[in-house]
């Protein structure tokens, strides 16, 4: 949904237009258990800031920027809860939430999503924004707060690692 004209549409219409892409993004980023809390926090923040949005803004990229930050917060919070003495090899990277659910139809998917969860935050976000949220590179860059070139690179690096998992 692009905002055009002089007035912002009612928040409810924005919520209805963007809820699904935000939900899918968050389930992919933090897992279905934490997705609800992140979703609520994302749209509460969006509601607070909403009247200050400028007409013509790309609201999808905007709300995914917020969702991205909430997903990172959730990972940090979990990392703090989980491991006072973290394994030095994994402490640097905020790893996946819970292991992915068993997937009867696509058993190999669980392995892939575990690998997604193991990607560095920016790569993980870039991959999910590209394929789950179906965002173009320009909007991925806006959502994770980097240059378009850096977004392309993160996406490429993330995909390269995931292909290795699938091929293995």
């Amino acid at each position: 949904m692009h905002v055009s004209g002089s007035a912002l549409p009612p928040f409810q219409r924005f919520l209805d237009a963007e809820r699904e892409v935000v939900w899918r993004y968050l389930v992919s980023m933090v897992g279905s258990n934490d997705a609800e809390d992140c979703f609520q926090e994302t749209f509460v923040s969006a509601l607070r800031a909403y009247p200050r949005l400028r007409p013509g803004s790309n609201v999808r990229a905007w709300v995914l920027t917020i969702a991205h930050r909430k997903a990172l917060d959730a990972h940090r919070a979990r990392a703090r809860r989980a491991a006072p003495v973290a394994d030095p090899t994994t402490a640097g990277e905020l790893s996946a939430s819970s292991p992915s659910a068993h997937d009867a139809a696509f058993p190999q998917d669980a392995q892939l999503w575990d690998a997604v969860g193991g990607l560095p935050a920016r790569q993980r976000s870039a991959v999910v924004l590209r394929y789950v949220a179906d965002l173009p590179h320009r909007d991925i860059a806006a959502a994770i707060g980097c240059s378009e070139e850096a977004a392309r690179r993160s996406l490429h690096e993330g995909l390269t690692k995931l292909r290795e998992v699938v091929r293995a």
Binding site: P10, E20, V27, S28, S98, L112, V166
Partner: protein
């Protein structure tokens, strides 16, 4: 020898597009299309919880909800201060909400709880058990002159009627019955602010934004229940 890279790339892309399986997934959600549906339902439910929550804790500036009536489904909208809009079924809901966004605030959500009491009062009114509305009104959408006209209208008792000229006089403009008629026609809270109780001198119905049939219906309802 490893498989060609393109094959792996496609597999990764397809799996990513299917989305992540949920721990709560049933068998029906096992395929990609089922997951889309599940995600759509889960997102809609999460959005409903969000709307009700921000309406309850005051983060939203306007809540709206549908309300059944003999005229069909009305749209009710309220700010923190009170009811601000009642829209008839044939009004374009998008346009009604866009105007509220423009005139008051775009922080608008659909939430039933803040409108529950209003909905109950309307039910009671339409079943002849309620003669006056108790809930607070927010007059933000009404200009100063219209506010005087509608304020005088709000004081007409249940089952009673006034002429346009009488309402204009009570609003402080004895010769402004045409202007009073315009203000009544633009009443943002019909039924609740009873503009249907204003008639032409001589008893003709005059006008009604919701249609004369409804005006007659309301007057007969009040006549029968008075």
């Amino acid at each position: 020898m490893s498989k060609p890279t393109t094959g792996a790339a496609e597999k990764v892309e397809q799996a990513l597009r299917r989305g992540r399986a949920s721990a709560r997934d049933g068998d029906d959600a096992a395929n990609g299309a089922g997951r889309r549906e599940r995600d759509a339902r889960a997102a809609a439910a999460a959005a409903r919880r969000l709307s009700e929550r921000v309406a309850q804790n005051g983060l939203a500036d306007i809540s709206y909800a549908p309300a059944d009536s003999p005229f069909g489904t009305l749209l009710l909208a309220a700010t923190r201060r009170g009811l601000t809009r009642v829209a008839f079924p044939e009004e374009d809901m998008d346009v009604v909400l866009e105007k509220l966004a423009d005139r008051i605030s775009p922080r608008i959500v659909e939430a039933s709880a803040p409108l529950e009491a209003m909905r109950r009062e309307l039910d009671e009114y339409f079943s002849g058990r309620r003669r006056s509305f108790q809930l607070a009104l927010d007059w933000t959408l009404v200009g100063p002159f219209a506010r005087r006209v509608l304020g005088a209208t709000a004081k007409i008792p249940y089952g009673g009627v006034l002429t346009y000229a009488e309402v204009a006089a009570r609003a402080g403009s004895p010769r402004g019955s045409r202007a009073a008629g315009n203000a009544l026609g633009a009443n943002p809270m019909p039924i609740v602010v009873p503009c249907h109780r204003v008639l032409r001198t001589g008893g003709a119905l005059g006008g009604y934004a919701g249609g004369l049939e409804r005006k007659r219906f309301l007057l007969e309802l009040e006549d029968a229940s008075a």
